[in-house]
Amino acid sequence: MKKTILTTTMLASAMLVGAGAVSAQEIRFMCSTDGNECDVIGEILDGFEAENPGVTVAVDVVPYQAILENLPVQLAAGTGPDIAKVTDLGGLHEYYLDLAPYVDRDYWQASFGDTLDWYRGGPDDDGIYGMHSQLTITGAYINRTLFDQAGIEVPPLEADWATWAEAARAVAEATDTPFPMAMDRSGHRIAGPAISYGAMLFNADGTPLLVDEGFTAYVQQFVDWHEDGTMARDVWAGQGGSTYQDAAQEFINGDLVYYYSGSWQVGRFDEQIGDFFDWQVVGSPCGTGGCTGMPGGAGIVGFEQTEHPEIVAAVIDYLAQEENYARLTAETRNIPAHIAVAEAGVEYVGASDAAAAALNAWAAQVPTISPIAFQYQGYVNNRAMFGITVERVSQAIVGELTVEQAMDRAVSDLAAVMAETQ
């Protein structure tokens, strides 16, 4: 009898443990951050876990390089996480989980509008794959204090590149500042100015073009500015390959008058510049193609290989709800991609007056973004095009190739990429 009771008890315990294991579902979220995004996401998801007992969302914080280099390999090998925060939005499309069957399509369409396209496979694809959590815009900052010290008026918003270059040179000369202008070493960064110079980047049928008259004209101007000292050579000539390099430290140190970078620098400048000098967002200079920067940023996606597609969709949908998205935006000091949140305005938590003004200035730039820039950001092979741009323009800057040779090479590089990815 005793033996029977013991056996029954053991079996019951084993079944209970087994049942527990089945109901306890863990979702792994690979997250990288240049601020506090992963922490805030984790805190918001505590609410999701409370509403969904038995579901755990483990947020694995990894370096950005792991997202760029390791995640694609993991996904190809079928060992990726369930959810990740990614920046190569179109490039990883083949692995995305379509959230459409699990979420309110109308809400998502109304809330995220055009950014949904960035995650899609093409014009015929109407799936919902990712929530754009961090909208960024490229554009410029100025050291306002240097302008004031030099007694030179800040050019108006609609000023063109030549006007800004002249003003930056004059300020640098008057204040003995080492660098009048600098732009991050990035193909994404140079795209906005090139579009402002008239670059189309794509043919009428949507195939990538990259080099045309407008693009070449900006590259020529950019190279000339490196030769005459207007642009800081250290940024583009200080690295090889397509390696990213910014000039944030030079700006923070007060060694730079005009810095073309993007909205994601606001938090860093707010924290590190403090009262050292006044800085200001001036957006993107104008040209025949408009006054556009490049949109970008990061988004949260689920992967098809997950064993729990419904939970993955529920997690992302939870983050996409207006109140949660508003909290995420406010606490991470980002520009909202959620239309309702943007319209309602964001009260940034813990931001100084300068940072809040800067973030609002960036948000005001959104309507000026060219449709070409949106198309480029959503194009599946844009990382390849960015890489080609950086490598070839750098060669022209350091004198390895002429601008004409560099542009010819960029065209043949793009053809090779297209051939390999067909």
């Binding site: 280099e69 694609p72 250290d234 000539a237 690295q239 397509s242 390999e420």
Partner: protein
């Protein structure tokens, strides 16, 4: 200790003798080697065979099954040049720039490396004051991580670095050393020589100390000049060691990547991009990831290394044969 080990060995001896009787000594040896062979095969041989397979496929897929077979197309793409001496005329100009840079780098770096190592070894072999200290000083950079070496020299050579501060301190004008193609290349050679010469100095020092003292005493009695002693005694007797140093330095120089990548990123432009960096960028860092092209380039590099290794084996054999 023996008291503890002996009983254990006696226990092990029983199954060992049994296995030896059943399998024979040779098979038993293979049995012991098996775990190592499996691990070595999995992590060394398998990747080599996979590399061959990837070199024969194209596309941007990661899994072999997603990659179309293209035969020798990757090799043809890499070697498609009108003039091999002019990278601009090549289909893959970055590959040929990397090849040119590597050839120049190897020639200069190995030359300086062997020369300076020999000079240092000769000095440190003399009866100088604080000889032990100086031997440690020259060997110390070998212990540093390549990234640390690169960062140290970057801090020294950057716009506001130590060198420019010193130059400006004595009234000279500073220079942006790493933004000029020629200077960046020259400093890359210098940095790698500085970082590794301690290792070769040590080998040459051992070679110098192996030369019998009585040969020098005989030369001294014959009133041979120091230069003649060096040419007629030191150099010929040190030649086998020199050859080993030369080949080792050559192989290592061809494989240069980490220090220079952390130092200049391969720039300005492609001035300090070497073959390994090309392989890394093509296969892993760039978009799309062209594994086929990177594998083909790595096989071409492997061929060069096999030739250099063969040279070392041949040199060693000649050395042994006298």
């Amino acid at each position: 200790m023996l008291k503890i080990i002996s009983p254990i060995m006696r226990i092990i001896e029983i199954p060992m003798l049994f296995a030896q009787r059943r399998l024979g000594i040779q098979r038993l040896a293979w049995l012991f080697l098996l775990p190592n062979l499996l691990l070595f095969g999995l992590f060394a041989f398998l990747p080599v065979f996979l590399n061959f397979a990837y070199a024969l496929t194209g596309g941007d897929g990661i899994l072999l099954e997603d990659r179309p077979y293209v035969g020798g197309q990757n090799f043809a793409t890499l070697t498609d040049c009108e003039n091999y001496l002019d990278p601009n005329s090549c289909n893959r100009d970055f590959f040929w720039r990397a090849v040119h840079n590597t050839v120049w780098f190897v020639t200069l770096q190995v030359g300086f490396m062997v020369g300076f190592s020999l000079l240092t070894a000769l000095i440190l072999n003399r009866d100088i004051r604080a000889r032990g200290f100086f031997r440690s000083v020259f060997f110390f950079p070998v212990l540093l991580s390549p990234v640390v070496v690169a960062l140290i020299w970057k801090w020294i050579l950057q716009r506001n670095g130590l060198l420019n501060s010193t130059l400006e301190g004595i009234g000279l004008e500073g220079f942006v050393w790493l933004l000029d193609r020629g200077w960046a290349f020259a400093w890359s050679v210098f940095l790698t020589v500085w970082a590794h010469m301690g290792f070769y100095t040590l080998i040459l020092l051992a070679g110098l100390q192996a030369i019998p003292r009585d040969v020098y005493e005989a030369a001294l009695m014959d009133r041979a000049s120091p230069w003649r002693t060096f040419r007629k005694i030191t150099l010929p007797l040190l030649a086998p060691t020199m050859l080993v140093v030369l080949v080792l330095a050559l192989i290592r120089s061809v494989q240069t990547f980490d220090e220079v990548f952390a130092f200049t990123g391969g720039g300005p432009g492609s001035a300090t991009t070497f073959i390994i960096q090309y392989i890394y960028q093509t296969g892993f860092a760039g978009a799309p990831r062209l594994f086929g092209l990177a594998s083909a380039a790595s096989l071409m590099l492997a061929l060069i290394l096999v030739i250099l290794t063969g040279l070392q084996l041949w040199a060693n054999r000649r050395n042994v044969d006298g």
